[in-house]
């Protein structure tokens, strides 16, 4: 009953076992599904990139993904048209928002994870409840409040609004991450002479960094491409205050016939997010698998 005889059950004449063949098939199907999913999400992006590299005439005449005569004319036009100002505004608002969220949620998540205090559970549920409300539903009352406070038509107001709206999700995510870090580390730090804040600063901040990276990336992407709040709060203030998403919208209206310029503006808007994501991807994946998912 040698394993290499033709009569052996479960083995083909070529010597490849059925189980291995089955595994190849499963692997093949898995990769096919991956490829379809990647294609589904990547195609629109590639198509926009393709449009941005065409001449205006080729938009309507060609269905080729790689343009026959690539042109950077639309990028030149877009960069000359004020998009850099909007890019700067977006970067300013996004960075301040992300920084603000991290500054607020890190100690808050630490406290919710580590301290037992009266009302802790109710507070956490209240925060979660707020997350259930769609910002679109409350955009008008929010505008009213912000106008009363004199915070409309200002980037500072928009940053505060974003921080407030995005704290609940970030807090839960980060709390889940803190929960996975053994409390013995806190105890060891206290024995070593740290107060609560020093424990957070010197001992827990580094282990929790992947979780903070996840919060940063989520909020960076969310804030960078946010439109409704920005449009509501900033649009009366003039184009100088616009963020990129508003700019592209205006751009689209003004240059409705020039699709190559709209596509180029979209590409310019996407590149920083991709760069940011790629830079922090390592932390992002580790953070998702180690913290939020398990926590």
């Amino acid at each position: 009953m040698g394993g290499n005889t033709d009569t052996t059950v479960g083995r083909l004449r070529s010597g490849v076992s059925w189980s291995r063949l089955r595994r190849y098939c499963y692997d093949g199907i898995t990769y096919l599904v991956y490829a379809l999913a990647i294609g589904f999400f990547l195609f629109p992006v590639l198509w926009v990139l393709s449009l941005s590299l065409r001449t205006e005439g080729a938009v309507y005449t060609s269905l080729e993904l790689i343009p026959a005569e690539p042109s950077l004319d639309s990028y030149r036009e877009v960069l000359d048209s004020g998009i850099l100002r909007w890019l700067w505004n977006t970067l300013f608002v996004t960075v301040l928002t992300v920084a603000g969220i991290i500054v607020v949620t890190t100690p808050a998540a630490y406290a919710f994870s580590r301290f037992e205090f009266r009302g802790r559970r109710s507070l956490l549920l209240a925060v979660l409840g707020f997350q259930m409300i769609s910002p679109i539903v409350i955009v008008l009352p929010l505008y009213d409040i912000m106008r009363t406070l004199g915070l409309t038509e200002s980037h500072a107001g928009l940053v505060l609004l974003y921080i407030g709206l995005q704290i609940p999700f970030s807090l839960w995510l980060l709390k889940g991450y803190f929960d996975t870090i053994p409390t013995e580390l806190d105890k060891a730090a206290r024995i070593d002479g740290c107060n609560r804040l020093q424990t957070l600063r010197y001992v827990l901040l580094r282990p929790v960094m992947p979780g903070i990276a996840v919060v940063a990336i989520f909020n960076f992407v969310l804030t960078w491409s946010e439109f409704v709040m920005a449009y509501t709060m900033l649009s009366p203030g003039g184009e100088d205050l616009y963020t990129l998403s508003m700019g592209i919208y205006v751009f689209d209206n003004q240059l409705a016939t020039q699709w190559t310029n709209v596509a180029a503006a979209a590409v310019v808007g996407i590149v920083p997010i991709i760069a940011f994501f790629v830079a922090l991807q390592r932390y992002f994946v580790r953070g998702l698998t180690e913290g939020a998912v398990k926590g």
Partner: protein
Amino acid sequence: MARLEIDGLRKTFGRGEDRIEAVSDLSLSAADGEFLVLVGPSGCGKSTTLNCVAGLESVTDGEIRIDGEVVNDRRPEDRDIAMVFQNYALYPHMTAAENMAFGLKMTTGLSAAERRDRVESTAELLDIGELLEKKPRSLSGGQKQRVALGRAIVRDPAVFLMDEPLSNLDASLRSTMRTEIQQLQDDLGVTTVYVTHDQTEAMTMADRIAILREGELQQIGEPLDCYYRPKNEFVAGFIGEPAMNTVRVTRRGDTLVGDALEYPVPRRADGLPSGEPFTLGIRPEAIEIVEAGTGAATGTVEVVEPLGETSHAYLTVADATVTVTTDGPGAVEEGERVGIDFPAQRVHLFDPDTGAAVARRESLPGEVTEEYPASRHD
């Protein structure tokens, strides 16, 4: 080095109906340089006690004194203690050297060079010099525990607190580390409070052991004293492996009578009232196998577990299971009917209601030589 005193310690968690008393009126002390082990099953309050001593938990009631000074309201770093944890609790982003130096950095005014010197000399003591630049994730369990010990030693504290430091190690490493910790403690002479649920660790390492149950101190004393002269049925059952056999008996005249068991009342128990029930306890290693129909009782061997030097035989006597430790393999065989007997000095008697020992033996083996060899009478 210092004397540690715990006086009337009480610690509760929660409020109202959810209130749990983790430690109840605990009083004990560890002399200067003593190795005191707190031992007991899960939830007995031993770790809570340690946390109260460390200052990681507030005290509900009572006093904790280190070298005569009440430290209840002092922060952990001001108590002159160092602690070793079960899961090592090394800071994952710091190297072994940074882990060891961190406490010095936060609590002393030592310069970086002085800190480095102290870390290096401690590392030499623990033979972990080559590990100093490694991060915890690249260390094995044993190495991590050595670094954690180093972190405690480098502080040169008055009291070491160790919370089940060997629980995460495999059996052979645990045994090696047990010896190393004992030796270190001997060399350094630092008062040590060591928490464990492992009675072997407690018996082999301690100068004295304190046995806790549901937050209350059951007995404190030298390991052999707790083994030979347990104060109650819980201590008798908890200390010793396999656990002590217990059977319900009643005194009838000069005899203790139980189901299928008869035994003469030991002389030290002469004063006990006749007609009263007692719990008779006898350790498996104190029982000898005799011919069926002779001795205190007769039973059938159900299972034999050979361990090499000794074997554990499980006998059915009436409805009860009696464990006997025999010499080597082959002393008894499964299915065999045998008698059991034991010396009177090794008999323990407990009050069946309170579990308290009655007519406790007064001396340990060796202290009164005529108690041995075994005899059925005191």
